[in-house]
Amino acid sequence: MATSRDDFIIAIRSAFLKKSTQQKFSLLSLLLVSISIIILSNLNFKVIKYLKIGLNEVVYRSSFLVSMPENFAKNTFFEIKEYSTFYNDYKKNRKELEQFKSNYVSNEIMQFENKELKELIDDFVSSSNKILAKIIVDHKSPYLKSIIINKGSKDNIKIGTNIYDQSYLIGRVIEVNYKTSRVLLLSDLNSNVPVTIAPQNIQAIITGTGKNDGKIKYIKGDFSSDLSEENIIYSSGTGGVFKSGIPIGKLKTNKDEPIRNMSVQFYSDFSQLKYVFAEIISKKDIEDLEQVITQTDTIDSKLKILEDEIKIIEDTNLKFLEENESLKFEINNLNTQISNLKDQVFLQKEEIDKFNFDEKEFEFLRLNLVYGHKCRKTFLNSSGFKIDTLEYRECVLNKGIID
């Protein structure tokens, strides 16, 4: 018995301490180092933190390069799979597209309304900017569903930054390096997202299952009878980690299962991600804005004076313009008046002319009565003129005297 125990101790000692010819370190020393690293990383020790940050950048890039052949094989596999279902997908997509088109207009209006209301409620104006990021590592092990993207603190990515596939929420940033970041996907076991189940507006928390779907972890109240396959899930924004109103997925119900086991089918397929969008949000509180205003008071007052000056000049210009306009209008009126008067004068002249003509005619008729017989050509008066001729008229006006 004693010999057996001695053999065991010798074997253990040998295993821990003996270094073979080419081994530089004994297993015991390396084991102690790794245990101390684990303890120090658990205590957030600075050296370990910096060591990890330093290694992250190198390892992520190396992992991307090393994964290239496998990724190529993987993509080829998926492409072949896609080709086999291409026609059916096309038909399905066409149907969906028609549906989406009809919903698009009303959605746009709702979005604008939402934006306005959110600004009113939150008391801040948020401006978001989505930047495109490439996935460099997507090793989704059964224990952790995460991806590495090629954007980091250099691109204003922060811990908690929301990550999207198109407009669907897929996760948040949990680790930021200078040029890379790790994104925890919604399908991870450690992911918890406060959501709203529409259209009933039921508040719940969903978590990942470690596979490609999620499940309801907590639901406020007993609403199991109200839920159906048509329910859609979007982020509620509770807690401030995720932005509100971002579509996440659809509810998959099973009548036999209790509410807690209801699964969530995500809109985005996490196994097919190549590029994602990271949302950079900049907030400006109204209070902060006021503070900034007081700090820049002098500049503001100067600007105000200049603005006033500009305003006065603009007002004067405006008045001149108005005056010009009124003068132009007056000129036009006067011109019209003149033309009217001219017309009137012309008419009066015509009248006068007419009157003058009538007077002459009257004189002719009067003389014609008296002297007409002297000028008319008759049997006895052969030197007379024919009536209605010019000579006759002249004769009458000359009081019957024939030249």
Binding site: Q22, F25, L31, S63, H139, P142, L189
Partner: protein
Amino acid sequence: MNVIKTNNYFFKIYSFLPIILLFLSVLNEFDLNYLNLKYFSFNFPFILIFFFTLKDLKKFDYLLVFIAGLLNDIVVSLPLGMSSLSYLLICIATSYFRNITIRPSGIKDWFYFLFVISLINSINYSILSLFFSYELILAYYLVNTFFTFVFYIIFVSIFKLYLKGLND
């Protein structure tokens, strides 16, 4: 093989092939997860480390195994040092097993491998859930252990061919 041996450069690469494979596998996390087979996963570095440390391959340096563990932790986002600890525990187990074995047998190695990876996965699970509050599914660990155990015999036959080539 003589051709390889005459070319010193290629022979060096060939002799370092297991360690190169270890680094590639930790960086690439080659586990066929994208096939989306339910629960399917296996741990290739475990098989690699167990086999070559058991066979006491000189180029398979413990320090490099330790570094590979650190890289694996970064790739799969585990607490730094966790994988190194697992890999080194395999090294200790194989070293002990080598010392006590008089007549090596493939079947014995295989079942000893099952015992070792079960023990290490249990330690892993306990540390992650107790000290780091990770939410983990035990079924995944069990399935992973099972498939790693099954795949061991397949990979061992390939590794033996490699060793034969190296010794020739």
